[in-house]
């Protein structure tokens, strides 16, 4: 450890923070110093204790042991009000904003307001909010409804809300998960600015590049313990990954990448697909055995394209071909019958059936195979359990058992269960939209292995990812989309983060005004 600041001087001192759930230590004697004016990165795999730490600070969870001292006075634990009074603000991935309220109303939500004759005086109440808006560089009118704002703009509103309350520390959880690259850059600028103004930032993210680039100090948690603490520049990405998972991962050049071979059979093709303003003249061929990826920015039309393929919407022009035959699907059911499946972007709202068991979630697309007697619609419990157990073992899904509720599994294991759903379903084309979003580094590698194995076994794989690094790790060939069009193709050694980013942003500065 290289603690340069002497502990007594630190603005916030966390000492011996310990919390266990059901006898398992979620946080084990964590010591941490946070300074005002610093961007402090907090990284670790899922379940490493990041959320528990933050929840303790927020007063949502009471620690079993330990204390937090802020500017010399001890913070009352287990009280969200006390945490707020101490100047701590928390911004979660799910921004807690009311869509039908204006940005200003949202910023003032819960704050004391100036009233006149019992009515809220919005003008005077808004003074602090307007000043805060100025500080974070909000350029849209504050009376805009939040539902009309982009995700990036909503983040600005949340930060503005924190500043309106004079927050001296803002904790941010995965802020860039739904932001495009320029939007992220903009957010980083604001974060640096806030730090310069003396605000402490606690930055939680799975995106390590970001953390390395942005944070003055990085703390790594593993299994509830702080395993590493480093000043900016003391750790590189490899070192950071090793600290997070406890061992090194493969780099892109060490893995085998299938050479693009046009002579191979095309599994799936799209011919001049067009839909509304989102998808324009998209054509592509997916060859047997390869992992084809669609790169680009959020909003480039990739998810919409996937929805057209699986029949959630119908293309206005163009057509698809599967195994050389023209494909016409009116709905996802017909797509599944034809052998096309989608593992959707929003795991929770479109993928898992949370209150159901792991087996139920895996088997739901192959009920016909699980009948007790062929021809009769009865599902055999024994066959269901056997199929689920074999797929759980095959993909290494970590679960207490196949009858356990899927809600109790980590995001990575839920994602694997969603992939398992299609392994016995006669799938010819599997589309995976953001397959490792919100999944930790270790699970991501396992998901990638499973995807690659599927491709090599002959299933057509189309991956959509906004995670540039994931594209370099996973894809045999990358098509980059921008504003509804395929703007470039990368193969072999050309698949690099910089090339993908270049193609994604090519004259993207036109859009930047909008993002602001």
């Amino acid at each position: 450890m290289s603690a340069t600041v002497s502990a007594a001087d630190a603005w916030m001192r966390i000492r011996g923070l310990t919390k266990s759930f059901a006898g398992e230590l979620a946080l084990d004697r964590a010591d941490l110093d946070i300074e005002r004016g610093q961007v402090h990165g907090l990284v670790g795999a899922n379940g490493a204790g990041k959320s528990t730490l933050i929840r303790c600070l927020a007063g949502v969870t009471s620690p079993d042991q330990g204390s937090v001292t802020i500017a010399g006075s001890e913070l009352q634990m287990g009280s969200p009000q006390a945490s707020e009074r101490a100047g701590l603000a928390f911004i979660h991935q799910e921004l807690n904003l009311i869509p039908h309220f204006s940005a200003l109303q949202n910023m003032l939500l819960g704050a004391p307001k100036v009233t006149r004759f019992g009515m809220i005086d919005w003008k005077r109440s808004g003074v602090a909010a307007r000043a805060a808006a100025e500080r974070v560089g909000i350029r849209f009118p504050l009376d805009t409804k939040v539902s009309e704002l982009s995700v990036a703009q909503r983040w600005l509103v949340m930060i503005g809300k924190a500043l309106t309350r004079d927050a001296s520390m803002i904790a941010m959880d995965e802020p860039t998960a739904s932001l495009s690259e320029p939007e992220s850059e903009q957010l980083f600028a604001i974060i640096r600015d806030l730090a310069a103004q003396g605000v402490a930032i606690l930055y939680v993210s799975h995106r390590l590049e970001e953390v390395l680039q942005l944070c003055d100090r990085i703390t790594v948690l593993r299994d509830g313990r702080i395993v590493s603490e480093a000043e900016r520049g003391a750790l590189d990405k490899k070192g950071l990954v090793r600290a997070i998972i406890g061992h090194a991962i493969r780099t892109p050049d060490e893995r085998d990448r299938l050479a693009a071979d046009r002579s191979r059979q095309s599994v799936f093709s799209a011919r001049s697909i067009a839909w509304k303003q989102a998808v324009k003249e998209v054509g592509l061929d997916l060859y047997k055995g390869e992992v084809l990826a669609l790169g680009g920015l959020v909003g480039a039309g990739r998810t919409e394209f996937a929805h057209l393929v699986v029949g959630l919407a119908r293309p206005e022009a163009g057509h698809f071909e599967l195994d050389g035959k023209r494909l016409d699907v009116a709905n996802p059911s017909e797509a599944v019958k034809a052998g096309i499946a989608l593992v959707p972007e929003e795991r929770r709202s479109q993928g898992v059936m949370l209150q159901q068991s792991v087996a139920f979630n895996i088997n739901i697309s192959t009920l016909k195979l699980l009948r007790s007697v062929p021809g009769l619609p009865f599902v055999s419990d024994a066959k269901s359990r056997r199929q689920a157990e074999s797929l759980v073992a095959h993909l290494g899904i970590k679960t207490p058992g196949v009858t356990a509720k899927i809600a109790g599994l980590s995001g990575g294991n839920q994602q694997k269960a969603l992939i398992a759903r299609w392994l016995n379903a006669g799938t010819k084309l599997l589309i995976l939209d953001e397959p490792s979003r919100g999944v930790d580094v270790g699970a991501r590698e396992e998901i990638h292995d499973a995807i690659r194995a599927l491709a090599r076994s002959g299933v057509g794989i189309l991956v959509i990812s906004s995670d540039v690094e994931e594209l370099t790790l996973l894809a045999d060939r990358v098509l980059v989309m921008r504003e509804g069009r395929v703007t470039g193709e990368l193969t072999g050694a050309d698949i690099t983060e910089s090339r993908i980013i270049e193609l994604s942003y090519h004259d993207a500065h036109d859009d930047q005004g909008e993002a602001a």
Binding site: S333, I364, S410
Partner: protein, 337 residues
């Protein structure tokens, strides 16, 4: 991605808090209804041993419960797929009127009248389903609208109770005791509930219904025809309502306007009581049966103790609020577990 998308899933749910208090609470929310039922039986047995605790009275309770159980199980299906059916009481009344009309006015044979009645109920259910899935009217509005219309259509068909010209054989259906000396409606209830239980728990379509109810979008992407599954659930609800209406007419020996309207609230109370039974806020047939028995035992006890009839709605409404409250609490514990 649009700005309106649901936020990305949060990782690794919080580990379970372990405390005996919590375990007890979850236990209470799961077994509370069954414990409540047993306590009621115990209370009435002790305080009215001669009257309550007799074979005749138990058969009486089961007989009363059977019509509610059938209609409530149909309603359970619509709730399993995440929808609602407020028309069932009106469907039962309407079909009960039509079935007697077919026999008394149109001279249909009994079997044909019943087949037509059940087909009519299923058809109304399918119409409800189409309105909800294809036209996309909120289920509360469409089923209430259809139900209200049926009241008027029934009035148009016959403003007066149809009591003459109903064959004796028809009334014997509900009064007879063909198997083991059990009242026929009880046997019919057992058959219907068993069939519905098997379909829901052991067949393709049952699994698909549960999938649709758990996460409609995920079900759609899994290749399930969500609309068809929902229409099937509405059709089942309509069929069960028609069966209850037909049995009620047989029991009353007449077709009467609005005779079965009250089953709507009974069915809802039972189904929500059931959703807090054994499972954590899920709708299921076994739970619904427990809910129906709670109502039936309660009504029976009230009448044994000579409570004025206006106590029944107080009990019924009270138990509905209690049921929904318990279901909500069970759900909350399920969600935070």
């Amino acid at each position: 991605m649009t700005a309106e998308t649901v936020p990305v899933a949060k990782e690794a749910p919080q580990p379970r808090k372990s405390s005996w208090k919590r375990t007890a609470l979850i236990g209470l929310s799961r077994y509370g209804t069954i414990i409540g039922l047993l306590l009621m039986v115990l209370f009435f047995s002790i305080n009215a041993p001669g009257i309550f605790l007799s074979r005749a009275n138990f058969l009486n309770i089961l007989s009363q419960a059977s019509l509610t159980a059938i209609i409530a199980s149909g309603l359970t299906y619509t709730l399993v797929v995440g929808e609602f059916d407020l028309s069932i009481g009106y469907v039962a009344s309407f079909v009960g009127l039509i079935v007697t009309g077919l026999m008394a006015y149109e001279g249909f044979p009994i079997w044909l009248s019943i087949v037509c009645a059940l087909a009519l109920g299923s058809g109304i259910g399918i119409l409800n389903g189409l309105l909800v899935t294809k036209v996309r009217i909120n289920a509360v509005i469409s089923t209430l609208g259809i139900g209200t219309m049926l009241t008027g259509i029934g009035f148009t068909y016959s403003a007066f109770p149809i009591a003459t010209g109903i064959p004796r054989v028809f009334t014997d259906i509900s009064l007879g005791r063909i198997v083991f000396g059990l009242p026929n409606p009880v046997i019919i209830m057992v058959v219907v509930l068993l069939a519905l239980w098997i379909v829901l728990n052991k067949t393709d379509i049952g699994q698909k219904m549960q999938a649709v109810g758990s996460n409609m979008e995920a079900a759609r992407l899994s290749g399930i025809r969500v609309d068809r599954i929902k229409i099937f659930a509405f059709a089942t609800a309509g069929f069960c309502a028609a069966l209850t209406g037909t049995l009620l007419s047989s029991l009353l020996g007449s077709g009467t306007l609005a005779a079965a309207d009250g089953y709507l609230l009974d069915a809802f109370a039972a189904v929500f009581l059931g959703s807090a039974t054994l499972r954590e806020g899920e709708f299921h047939i076994t739970g619904t049966l427990v809910g129906v028995l709670i109502l039936a035992v309660g009504f029976n006890g009230l009448s044994i103790f000579g409570a004025p009839t206006h106590f029944q709605p107080i009990f019924k409404g009270g138990i509905l609020v209690l049921a929904v409250g318990m279901s909500a609490l069970a759900r909350r514990y399920a969600a935070s577990a």
